[in-house]
């Protein structure tokens, strides 16, 4: 069995009801991914040649996933999504979702970006995590550089509102 120790990049995931399939880049090799619901709170995830059973649970603001004795926990973090909840017409910060190292900055101040463009790539838990533009807009500030160690919620990129005319 492959035990990947190098960054993982998720490529495409296609969802079909409770199941999903797609590909993930592990150690530079494309591998298939399959997600299958087993019962109300259990999923089977096939990842490359490995099979995992994941038990999920949900609290008000927390999503939990258990796999192989390890529990992972996601909290609702509005600021992470790129300021979708901040007032329209201002600028919003793209923030670090977890403690991470910045491996690449893909944009420069003043640059126009489209929704889904990668702004910054982080590495955390030995996984590669691209932070993407939540909307069209213009980069007003870059607050990080490759190699930086960043804390959760640290602002990395500031983006002006996509609705503002680009004058």
């Amino acid at each position: 069995m492959t035990r990947p120790r190098r960054p993982v990049t998720v490529e495409t995931i296609v969802r079909d009801g409770d199941a999903a399939s797609g590909r993930v880049r592990i150690s530079g090799i494309d591998e298939p991914v399959e997600v299958e619901r087993i019962d109300a709170d259990t999923y089977r995830v096939s990842l490359a040649a490995r099979r995992f059973e994941v038990v999920v649970a949900r609290a008000l603001d927390v999503e939990w996933g258990w796999v192989d004795g390890r529990a992972f926990r996601w909290t609702r973090a509005a600021e992470v999504a790129g300021g979708e909840r901040e007032p329209a017409g201002g600028t919003s910060a793209i923030r670090a979702p977890m403690p991470a190292i910045v491996t690449a900055v893909a944009v420069a101040p003043g640059q126009a970006v489209a929704q889904g463009d990668t702004l910054v790539v982080l590495e955390a838990m030995k996984m590669e995590l691209p932070l993407k533009a939540p909307r069209h807009g213009r980069v007003t500030a870059v607050r990080c550089a490759a190699g930086d160690r960043v804390n959760p919620a640290a602002p990395l990129i500031e983006l002006d509102d996509g609705e503002t005319p680009q004058d």
């Binding site: 035990r3 990947p4 120790r5 993982v8 998720v10 490529e11 495409t12 995931i13 296609v14 969802r15 079909d16 009801g17 409770d18 999903a20 797609g22 993930v24 592990i26 991914v33 997600v35 619901r37 709170d41 999923y43 990842l47 490995r50 995992f52 994941v54 038990v55 999920v56 649970a57 949900r58 609290a59 999503e63 939990w64 996933g65 258990w66 796999v67 192989d68 004795g69 390890r70 529990a71 992972f72 926990r73 996601w74 909290t75 609702r76 973090a77 509005a78 992470v80 999504a81 790129g82 979708e84 979702p97 977890m98 955390a124 838990m125 996984m127 691209p130 993407k132 939540p134 959760p152």
Partner: protein, 504 residues
């Protein structure tokens, strides 16, 4: 003369209360639980034959409220009280109050608890009984010359301690004679300011000691047996995390010295019921030094490892002895077979300074099967309250050899599902998988010195986090493809779908 216990009040909560209540059920003893108002639906309350709410959530108002507990025993007609561990279990006043109220205390008499609870008294008692203690003295000549002479007798490295106090004030580590003079003046100044008394005590500092303890059991006639030793060296800030029996790598001679010392200690103290004599062990081979540390006058958290290797039930024996019965076993009927390991499962955040965690147990599924015992105090759907100890359960395994027990424990940890509160399950697995643990004995500094590495190791396998993210993502997503126009063929990744959520 005490009579067999017919109805027992369990003055505790969590796993130990459940464990005692279940023993009662097996022995035909009626059980009475007590609880705070936060615990009225707790598992121990649900398991007992009867339950009494004794006060508000704060322990001082309920589980530490001796008067309310004794009133509850009287009100329910219970004839005996089992204190478990923690709370009032080592409070001599509680034991005395029980005796005063005509209740059987499942533990040693109040004066024995008091004597062993004082470290100075206990040291004096042990020295008298010929039990090795950590070398040290309070020289009559308190000048620099007198202390230096004492230091030479005790040996370096040493600890200078304020004779009058504790808590680390007036304490200095001295690694070599050249550092003594400076340390004396600092320690004396602190001791005088803290305790109004500059008298100093010189104690040898043990080098990478192991924590090894001996379980003993005594009846009313003064008969004492030991149930061999446990190694509890895997600690964090003096809190035990993993315990095992037998202690790895002890020679038969050292093991014999430990158990003989423990029995002598218990005899010297006039001990009754279950107790544990804790030692530090320094060095290896037959030449290893053993030194008395303290005696715990109650059932220990880690008693199950002793039960698994000896095949004896300590709570059954405690209840028999407290009811005036003779010890159920002679010394030669108590043998160790195989190897047992206990992992304490805590609701805590190891990566955040071991902050205790609290919340609802959304999923809670214990491993089961050959050689696996789980003593838990929680159930799925239950609430882990910040008001109490964060111990959720103890996973205890038995194997034919230490290696088999380690492998079994790791396999069981990997099947232990806890969601809703963060736990140390992952850390426990990494501790057991550490090469030094696999190799044999470690010292009490092991966990502190390897903790950073062990915590960093947490992210070693990104596929686990990715698998979890993919499953959570699947659940968060619309259940049918037609629910969202862009769902099929969309380019997505679980991190961006979880973009509004933060791994934490």
């Amino acid at each position: 003369m005490a009579a067999p216990i017919r109805r027992l009040l369990v003055a505790n909560r969590g796993e130990i209360a459940l464990r005692i209540i279940r023993a009662c059920r097996e022995l035909g003893i009626e059980s009475v639980a007590v609880c705070s108002t936060a615990d009225v639906r707790a598992p121990h309350v649900r398991a007992a034959d009867r339950a009494v709410t004794i006060g508000p959530p704060h322990p001082r108002d309920s589980y530490l409220n001796a008067g309310a507990i004794i009133d509850a025993a009287r009100g329910t007609g219970a004839g005996a009280i089992h204190p478990g561990y923690g709370f009032l279990s080592e409070d001599p006043d509680m034991a005395a109050a029980c005796a005063g109220a005509g209740l059987v205390w499942v533990g040693p008499p109040a004066d024995v608890i008091a004597r062993l609870g004082s470290k100075i008294e206990a040291r004096r008692l042990m020295r008298g009984a010929g039990v090795p203690i950590v070398p040290g003295e309070t020289p009559a000549d308190q000048t620099g010359v007198g202390l230096a002479a004492a230091a030479e007798r005790v040996g370096y490295p040493l600890l200078l301690k304020a004779s009058a106090g504790g808590g680390g004030r007036g304490m200095r580590t001295v690694r070599a004679p050249g550092r003594l003079r400076q340390a004396i003046s600092e320690a004396r100044r602190e001791a005088e300011s803290a305790f109004g008394n500059g008298t100093l005590y010189v104690e040898r500092q043990l080098i990478r000691p192991r924590h090894v303890e001996v379980q003993i059991m005594a009846d009313d006639t003064g008969r004492v047996v030991h149930l061999h030793e446990r190694d509890c060296s895997i600690q964090r800030r003096h809190q035990k995390v993993v315990e095992e029996s037998p202690a790895p790598g002890l020679t038969p001679a050292v093991r014999a010295r430990l158990t003989a010392a423990a029995v002598s200690a218990a005899r010297a103290a006039g001990y009754r019921n279950a107790g544990t004599v804790e030692f530090l062990v320094e060095g290896a081979g037959d030449a290893a030094d053993i030194a008395f540390l303290e005696m715990n006058t109650r059932l220990q958290v880690e008693h199950p490892v002793t039960e698994l290797v000896t095949g004896r039930d300590l709570v059954h024996a405690q209840l028999a002895v407290a009811g005036g019965g003779a010890l159920p076993w002679s010394q030669d009927e108590i043998a160790v077979r195989g190897h047992a390991i206990e992992c304490r499962v805590y609701a805590e955040r190891p990566a955040e300074g071991f902050l205790p965690d609290a919340g609802t147990l959304l999923r809670y599924r214990e491993p089961a099967g050959p050689g696996i015992r789980v003593d838990a105090g929680v159930v799925e759907g239950g609430v882990v309250s910040p008001a109490y100890d964060a111990l959720l359960a103890k996973l205890v395994v038995h194997g034919e050899t230490r290696g088999r027990a380690l492998a079994r424990a790791r396999a069981a940890l990997a099947r232990y599902v806890v969601l809703g509160v963060r736990t140390n399950l992952g850390l426990l697995s990494r501790i057991l998988g550490h090469p030094r643990v696999a190799a044999g004995p470690v010292d009490t500094g092991f966990l502190e010195t390897t903790l950073d590495d062990l915590l960093a190791e947490g992210g070693e396998d990104p596929a686990l986090a990715l698998a979890a993210a993919l499953a959570v993502d699947a659940r968060l997503s619309p259940r049918a493809p037609e629910a969202g126009p862009s769902a099929p063929d969309a380019v997505r990744d679980p991190w961006s779908t979880l973009g509004g959520w933060r791994l934490a």
